[in-house]
């Protein structure tokens, strides 16, 4: 059997629940952002995930959209986020920051005048 190339992401669980509660992709992304503030997720990402769930037949019933408000959904979704998803979210953010740090070294090296710093240090010794 060929390996699935489908991406699994930490916000998928929350997105699936929101979709089943009749939330539109844009509203769903709001809920996700409230729980995972630094997640780079938009309505388009959620829309793509919704199409995938639909094509796989994983959404059997969608409730009417007026059952629960976005605010209430945010409160409820906070309780259903698993420790696993929270950990993976932290890793995603941590890894991103770590990569940015590398670019920071490069930018600092480009902008800072090393010679000037060394000369200042030598003057201090004198």
């Amino acid at each position: 059997m060929a390996k699935s190339r489908k991406k699994d992401i930490y916000w998928h669980n929350v997105a699936k629940i929101c979709i089943e509660y009749g939330f539109k992709p844009a509203q769903t992304s709001k809920v996700i952002k409230a729980i995972f503030p630094q997640a780079e997720v938009t309505g388009r990402h959620v829309g793509a995930y919704k199409r995938r769930l639909t094509s796989e037949g994983l959404i059997t019933e969608v409730l009417p959209s007026n059952i629960i408000s976005v605010g209430d959904m945010i409160e409820q979704a906070k309780d259903i986020v698993t420790a696993e998803d929270e950990f993976i979210y932290k890793c995603a953010i941590g890894s991103h920051k770590r990569s940015l740090k590398c670019f920071e070294y490069k930018l600092t090296a480009e902008t800072e005048d090393e010679i000037e710093k060394v000369e200042a240090w030598i003057r201090k010794i004198k």
Binding site: M1, D8, I88, C91, G94, S95
Partner: protein, 338 residues
Amino acid sequence: MSEKSTLEELFDRSIDGDRDIDDETISTYESAEREDDSHAEPIVEDEPVVHIPTVISKLKGSVDIPEEFKFTDDTTFYSMLRNIYRGKSILVTGPSGCGKSSLGKILAEITDKPFHAFNFGDTMNPSAKLLGDTKFDKDKGTWFKPSRFVSALRDERGSFIMLDEVTRDRTGDLANILMPVLDGQRYLALDESEDADTVKIDDGAFFFATANIGREYLGASHDLDRAWKDRFTGGIYELEYLPRQKEKDLLMIRNPNLKDIDANHITDFAERVRALYKADELNTSVSTRMCLTASELVVDGMDLLEALKMTCLPFYPITAGDDTERVRVIQTIQAMGE
């Protein structure tokens, strides 16, 4: 009528020939067909493949490999994160200066866990380092001050505990104290009495140990104690020095002002020395840390060959003769200038 005709064919012929078939013939054919069917492979309908997300598939989908983790493959990175999540201790082995401790720091930062490092290369008394010490106060009298390690074990945020250079302890105390910490018991006894206070290790605590393995570090045995290895349920990762191109990338990332040609020479030199080490012609090798030091010297204006000599030669003994390890390393350095 052929012997292998089916009941269906029999009916067809009977219609064409306008002949009746008696019940006995039909039942004979039916039982023969049932027997044939019993030998046939059962027809199984394809079940839809249900995709089930796993910890590793979610990590792969969500977490990008940071730039500095270039030196290992994807599986190492994601399985290490999985082990941190599951609280499975890991041991990272490899030659000195290949990036084991750096890896620990990067992982702690990525997972946003409180980082506590304990280096056993700088201790004469592992039990004081791990358990604590007895102090005296003129008002309180004698009292026990728990170690930093004890606080790390108790940290409710789930510490990332780096046990650096565990093979440097020659007393054997370190292994004895850490055994119940690393195995399923997950406690630390503060002394050896029967009613000793024990420290319960927080469920989120994760242990990342590093060790140098090789003839120049462990002597004749070249390997770690089996009991040590068994305690690292997340597995043992054997790191090697970086392949040349990746090492060059790393030098350039850490020293953006390093010239491409110098980075090439430094990594070429390291590769040649490592080949000599592998061929048992040298007793120790050139580490990535040494390459980084040499490249920093070059960036600050030192001549490349001088930088290599200054960084590497002290690791090779001064002995008489023209075929010593030091002479071979000097020749390799000089070859970089040609």
